[in-house]
C-alpha cells in the first residue's frame, strides 16, 4: 500500500513522484522500463523563453529538472540576453545519458520512493468512483488512494511516418492502449493531439568544417542556483539551412505525408510546425535555419532542430542531403509524427485533479501540453496535490500573479487547449513580476510551508533570505541629489533626498555607481533587487490589477450552476462555461468569449440565487 502512485517516468512523472516523496508520501513510480526514467524523447534541450521560467520555478520547490539540466549540460545559451531579465530565457543542451542518470540518482536518494516496472493496465476504482490503485499488465495490483497519470504520448499513442503506421508512444516502445480504452469508457472528455520529431543524424557523416558554429556562453550561469560549477566539457552547435532544393523535395513528397493526406486528425502545435507545414504555409521564404545539436558527449547522434517531419523515409533522406554540410549525411533514426490521447484539461481543477474520479491527478501531455518544462511544472503541481490528498495536508494552489506555473494551470483548466500548449512569456499578464531570476523569492515561502524543500535546499534558502535582508539596508540608504551632482551625474536639482531604491529609477544613475562596494556581476540576489527597483512603478500599477483579479477570484461560483438557466448567455457561452465549470467569477472572466455583460449576468444570477 502506497500513498501515491505515479504512472510514467518522464519529466512530469519524475517531478510528481519526487515532490510527493519530499512531502512525506510513500510513492510508487510505475514505468515500462526503469532504465528509461528521465528520458528526453525529443529535443535534447531544457529551458528557453518562457520555459526557462518554469524550470526556475520548479527548482524553487526543490524540483529535479534544473539540477539535472546542469548536471547534463554540454551547451549553455541565455536567450534575449540584451533584453530585460523578465524575458531572458536560460536554455541548455543536455547529454541525454547524463540527464537520465542525474534524474535517476536524485530519485534513488529520496526515501519512500519505489520504482515499479510494468504496464499500468487500468485504474482500480471503488464503487463510488474514487481511486484505489493501479492494476498492472500482469494482473497484480498496486494500491494507493491517489494516482498521478503522466503518460505523455503513450496514451493511445500512434506513430506516423509516410505510409507507415505503428502503435507506440516513442519509436520502438509500447503504447498504453488499454489504459486509454478504460479512460474513454469512463466517459471522460478525450480528444487527440499530435506532435512530431525530426530524424536523428550520424554526426560522423556531417561536414562540420563548412558550417557556422554557435559556441556555448562563456560566462558562468546555471539553471539552478544550487549549481556552482560547469561539470561537463562544453561543445558547440552548428547551423545549416534549408534551400529551394530541400523545399522541392518536400513538396514532391507532400502527398505522402500523413499530415496532408488527412490521416492525422489531431491538431499539432503552431509554434513547433513540421518542416512540411513550414514549406506549405510560408512558401515565400527561401530557407529555414536548422540547428545541428549534438545529443551527448559519447554518442554520434545529432538532433537537427527545425525539421520535425513525418514524410516517408526516402523523402527524409533526400531532404537532409540537400542541405549544406549534410550532403553525405546518414540518418540513424527517421523522424515521425505521433498522435496521442489527451483529456480536455477543462475537466480538471486547479490542483490538476479530476473531480470526476476523486484521487486522480493528471500532468503533462495527457493535459494537452507540450514540452519538458511544461510537463515538469504540472508534475510538480499534480504530485504535491496527490500527496496532499493522500496525507490530508495543504494543497499547492498558485495563481496567475505568483508564477508561470499558476498561469499555465489556470490557462489549462479555464481555457482548455486547441493545440499542444506551450508556455510563452506573452501568456503572463504580470510578466514584470514573474522573472526567471526572482522565482525563488516568489515561491520559496510557500514551498517551505508545504514541506517541499529538502535539507540542502532549505540551507540555501536561508542564505538567500539572509542576503536579501542585508541588501534591504543597502537599498534604504538615503542620498541627497547634490551628492550625485558633484559626482557629475545629471539628476534633478530638487533637493529631494531619495533612497538607493528610488534613485535606481533615474536612467542617469548607473547601478555601478550606487553599489560601488558590491560586486553586482557575481551577486544574483543584488541583480534581482536592482531590477525590482527599476520596475517598481510598473509593479505598483500591476498590483492594482492583481488585487482586482484576486477580488474576482474570491467570488465563488457553485460548481453545479446550470448555465442554461441564466438569462442572456449565448449558446456558445453556455457550452464553454459548462465545459470549464469555473470555480470563481475571476475564472469565468478569463474564459475566451465571455464578455463583461455576460459576467454581470452571471454575478446577478448568483447573487439573486443567494
Amino acid at each position: 500500500m502506497f500513498d501515491v502512485i505515479v504512472v510514467g517516468g518522464g519529466h512530469a512523472g519524475t517531478e510528481a513522484a519526487a515532490v510527493a516523496a519530499r512531502r512525506g508520501a510513500s510513492v510508487a513510480l510505475i514505468t515500462f522500463d526503469a532504465a528509461k526514467v528521465g528520458a528526453m524523447s525529443c529535443n535534447p534541450a531544457i529551458g528557453g523563453l518562457g520555459k526557462g521560467h518554469l524550470v526556475r520555478e520548479v527548482d524553487a520547490f526543490d524540483g529535479l529538472i534544473a539540477r539535472a539540466a546542469d548536471a547534463a549540460a554540454i551547451h549553455y545559451r541565455m536567450l534575449n540576453r540584451s533584453k530585460g531579465s523578465a524575458v531572458q530565457g536560460p536554455r541548455i543542451q543536455a547529454d541525454r545519458t547524463l540527464y537520465a542518470s542525474a534524474i535517476q540518482q536524485m530519485l534513488d536518494r529520496l526515501p519512500g520512493l519505489t520504482i515499479v516496472e510494468g504496464e499500468a493496465d487500468s485504474l482500480i476504482l471503488k464503487d463510488d468512483g474514487s481511486i484505489a490503485g493501479i492494476r498492472l499488465g500482469d494482473g497484480s495490483a498496486v494500491r494507493a488512494p491517489a494516482v498521478v497519470l503522466a503518460t505523455g504520448t503513450f496514451l493511445g499513442g500512434r506513430l506516423f511516418r509516410g505510409e507507415d503506421r505503428e502503435t507506440g508512444g516513442r519509436v520502438g516502445e509500447r503504447a498504453a492502449s488499454r489504459l486509454a480504452e478504460q479512460l474513454r469508457s469512463l466517459d471522460l472528455p478525450m480528444a487527440r493531439l499530435k506532435t512530431g520529431t525530426p530524424p536523428r543524424l550520424d554526426g560522423r557523416t556531417i561536414d562540420w568544417a563548412v558550417l557556422s558554429e554557435q559556441p556555448s556562453d562563456s560566462d558562468f550561469w546555471a539553471m539552478s542556483p544550487m549549481t556552482t560549477i560547469r561539470r561537463n566539457p562544453q561543445i558547440f552547435c552548428a547551423i545549416t539551412r534549408t534551400n529551394p532544393g530541400t523545399h522541392d523535395a518536400i513538396r514532391r513528397g507532400l502527398d505522402r505525408s500523413p499530415l496532408f493526406s488527412g490521416d492525422i486528425g489531431g491538431q499539432g502545435p503552431r509554434y513547433c510546425p513540421s518542416i512540411e507545414d513550414k514549406i506549405h504555409r510560408f512558401g515565400d521564404r527561401d530557407g529555414h535555419q536548422v540547428f545541428l545539436e549534438p545529443e551527448g558527449l559519447d554518442t554520434h547522434l545529432v538532433y537537427p532542430n527545425g525539421i520535425s517531419t513525418s514524410l516517408p523515409v526516402d523523402v527524409q533522406h533526400e531532404m537532409v542531403r540537400s542541405m549544406k554540410g549534410l550532403e553525405h549525411c546518414a540518418i540513424i533514426t527517421s523522424g515521425y509524427a505521433v498522435e496521442y490521447d489527451y483529456i480536455d484539461p477543462r475537466s480538471l481543477d486547479h490542483r490538476l485533479a479530476l473531480p470526476q474520479l476523486p484521487g486522480l491527478y493528471c500532468a503533462g501531455q495527457i493535459n494537452g501540453t507540450t514540452g519538458y518544462e511544461e510537463a515538469a511544472g504540472q508534475g510538480l503541481i499534480a504530485g504535491a496535490n496527490a500527496a496532499a490528498f493522500a496525507l490530508d495536508i495543504e494543497p499547492l494552489l498558485l495563481d496567475r500573479a505568483t508564477s508561470y506555473l499558476g498561469v499555465m494551470v489556470d490557462d489549462l483548466v479555464v481555457q482548455g487547449v486547441t493545440e499542444p500548449y506551450r508556455m510563452l512569456t506573452a501568456r503572463a499578464e504580470y510578466r514584470l513580476r514573474l522573472r526567471a531570476n526572482n522565482a525563488h523569492h516568489r515561491l520559496s515561502d510557500i514551498a517551505e510551508r508545504l514541506g517541499c524543500l529538502g535539507q540542502e535546499r532549505q540551507q540555501w534558502v536561508n542564505l538567500y533570505r539572509r542576503e536579501r535582508a542585508r541588501l534591504d539596508s543597502v537599498f534604504d540608504r538615503k542620498i541627497a541629489p547634490n551628492t550625485l551632482r558633484v559626482e557629475g551625474l545629471s539628476v534633478p536639482e530638487d533637493g529631494i533626498v531619495r533612497s538607493v531604491a528610488e534613485w535606481l529609477r533615474f536612467p542617469a544613475v548607473p547601478a555601478e555607481f550606487l553599489f560601488s562596494d558590491e560586486n553586482i556581476a557575481s551577486n544574483p540576489v543584488l541583480q534581482e533587487r536592482i531590477e525590482d527597483a527599476r520596475y517598481a512603478p510598473y509593479l505598483e500599477r500591476q498590483a492594482q490589477e492583481v488585487s482586482q483579479m484576486q477580488a474576482n477570484d474570491a467570488i465563488s461560483l457553485n460548481g453545479g450552476l446550470d448555465y442554461r438557466t441564466i438569462p442572456g448567455l449565448s449558446a456558445e457561452m453556455v457550452e464553454r462555461l459548462s465545459a470549464t465549470r469555473p470555480a470563481t467569477l475571476g475564472q469565468a472572466s478569463r474564459i475566451r468569449g465571455i464578455t463583461p455583460a455576460a459576467l454581470s449576468a452571471i454575478l446577478l444570477y448568483v447573487k439573486r440565487a443567494g
Binding site: L79, L424, T425, A426, R427, L569, S570, A597, A598
Partner: protein
C-alpha cells in the same frame, strides 16, 4: 395562435386565435425569425396587428396567458442581442443613443454606431495594435527564431507604428462627442456692449429671453436658448458685451464667461462694426445690425444686414446659419464616440505614446498590453489569444 408557423423571414397573412378560447382575435401579418440568425439571436416572432387599442389589448392578454411569456422590459431586446453576441457594446450604445437622439447629427451618428460603425473603426485600430504587439511579443518570445529577426528587422518599426496609430486616435478625438452632437450647434452672439445682441436673440427666438435696454452692460451673464429649426438644433447664447475696460466686477465676470462661450462656439454671430479680435476655430458671421436705421442703410460687402426691430434680413441670416449647420452634420461614414469611448481612446493614445518612447522592449510590451485591454473595454470583447494568432500567422516560428 396563428396555427401554422409561417416560412422564416417572410411576411404571411394569418388569422390569430386566442389559444385558450379559440376565439378569432385579429387578422395580422406574422413574421417568424428563427434563432440564431435573428436580431437577438433567439427565436423571434413579430405580429403586425390592426391598430385598435382593444385588438392590441386582447392579443397581449392572450399572449400573457401562454406559459413562459411575459412583456419585455425596457431595452431587453437590445440587452439580449448584446448578451448573445449579436451586437457589441458600441452597437448597443448606438441603439441607446438613437432612442435619445435629439438632433439630426446625433441621429446619424447613432445609426452609424448601431450598425457597427464604431466597432469596425475600433477593430481596424485594434488590428493595427495587435500587429504592433505581435511584433514586439515575437521579438520577446521568439527572438531566437531566424524568421522573426528577418521580418522585424531592426526591431524599431514598432515605434513608428505606435506613433502613427496614436496620431490617428488623436484625429478621431478631435471630432465632437456624441453628447456634443445631441446638444445642438452652439451659436454665440458676441460684440461690444450695446451692439444689439440681446435684441437679436429675442428676434431670432421670437421670445423675450433677454432684457433689452439702452444701457451698455445690461446683459451680465450668458443667456442660453435652445432652438430647433428644420431638423437642426441650436443653442443660441447671448453674452455680455466685450467691453475693453470695466470697473464693475460683475460685468467683468460676465465678460470672462462670454470668452468661455466663444471658445466652445461652433459659430459666432458678431455684431460689432469693427471686425472682431477673437481667436477661435468657429465660423464667424459678421452682422450689420440695426439695418433699419436710415444712417445705416449701406451694408458693407462682407456683412449680413439684420434688423431686430423689423425682422428684415432674419431669414437670410438663418439660411447662412443652416448652411453652416449642414457642415456640422456628420457624413454618413463619420464616426463619433461617446464620452465613455473617448475616455478609453484617450488613455489608449497615451499608452501608445508611452510605448513609442520606451527603451526597454519589455516595458513597450507592458504599455501595449494595457492598450489592448483598453481596446477590449471599448467593444466589450477580450483576448490574448488574438495576439498570439497574429504572431503565428505572420512568422514561421518553431524548430
Amino acid at each position: 395562435m396563428a396555427r401554422a408557423l409561417p416560412q422564416p423571414r417572410r411576411a404571411s397573412l394569418r388569422r390569430l386565435y386566442d389559444p385558450q378560447s379559440g376565439e378569432e382575435l385579429d387578422q395580422a401579418l406574422v413574421l417568424w425569425f428563427p434563432g440564431p440568425a435573428s436580431a437577438t439571436g433567439e427565436d423571434l416572432a413579430e405580429l403586425h396587428l390592426h391598430g385598435g387599442r382593444a385588438v392590441v389589448a386582447a392579443i397581449e392578454t392572450a399572449l400573457g396567458n401562454v406559459k413562459g411569456l411575459r412583456p419585455a422590459t425596457a431595452g431587453e431586446f437590445t440587452q439580449r442581442a448584446l448578451m448573445n453576441g449579436r451586437i457589441d457594446l458600441t452597437q448597443a450604445e448606438g441603439l441607446g443613443e438613437l432612442l435619445s437622439a435629439e438632433t439630426e447629427a446625433a441621429r446619424r451618428a447613432a445609426v452609424h454606431a448601431s450598425e457597427g460603425g464604431i466597432r469596425k473603426k475600433v477593430e481596424q485600430w485594434n488590428d493595427r495594435l495587435l500587429n504592433v504587439s505581435a511584433s514586439v511579443e515575437a521579438e520577446l518570445d521568439h527572438s531566437d527564431e531566424e524568421d522573426v529577426a528577418a521580418v522585424i528587422g531592426s526591431g524599431l518599426s514598432y515605434r513608428r507604428d505606435c506613433i502613427a496609430l496614436a496620431e490617428e486616435l488623436e484625429r478621431a478625438l478631435a471630432s465632437p462627442s456624441v453628447e456634443r452632437l445631441n446638444e445642438g450647434i452652439r451659436i454665440v452672439l458676441a460684440g461690444p456692449p450695446n451692439s444689439g445682441k440681446s435684441s437679436l436673440i429675442n428676434a431670432m427666438t421670437g421670445r423675450d429671453v433677454a432684457i433689452v435696454s439702452a444701457i451698455a452692460g445690461t446683459t451680465r451673464d450668458r443667456i442660453e436658448m435652445a432652438v430647433t429649426r428644420r431638423g437642426y438644433s441650436y443653442i443660441l447664447t447671448d453674452t455680455a458685451g466685450l467691453a475693453t475696460k470695466t470697473d464693475d466686477p460683475i460685468e467683468a465676470i460676465g465678460i470672462e464667461r462670454a470668452r468661455q462661450a466663444l471658445d466652445a462656439a461652433d459659430a459666432i454671430l458678431w455684431l460689432g462694426d469693427e471686425n472682431p479680435d477673437i481667436a477661435s476655430d468657429a465660423s464667424i458671421i459678421l452682422i450689420h445690425a440695426r439695418c433699419d436705421e436710415p444712417e445705416r442703410d449701406a451694408t458693407p460687402d462682407d456683412r449680413t444686414p439684420v434688423s431686430s426691430k423689423t425682422g428684415a434680413g432674419l431669414s437670410v441670416l438663418w439660411e447662412k446659419i443652416e448652411e453652416l449647420a449642414s457642415r456640422h452634420i456628420p457624413a454618413e461614414s463619420a464616426v463619433f464616440f461617446n464620452e465613455r469611448q473617448r475616455r478609453l481612446i484617450t488613455e489608449w493614445k497615451n499608452r501608445l505614446e508611452a510605448a513609442a518612447q520606451e527603451e526597454d522592449l519589455l516595458l513597450v510590451g507592458e504599455q501595449l498590453r494595457l492598450a489592448r485591454s483598453l481596446c477590449d473595454q471599448i467593444t466589450g470583447r477580450a483576448g490574448v489569444e488574438a495576439m498570439l494568432g497574429d504572431i503565428f500567422a505572420r512568422f514561421c516560428i518553431g524548430k
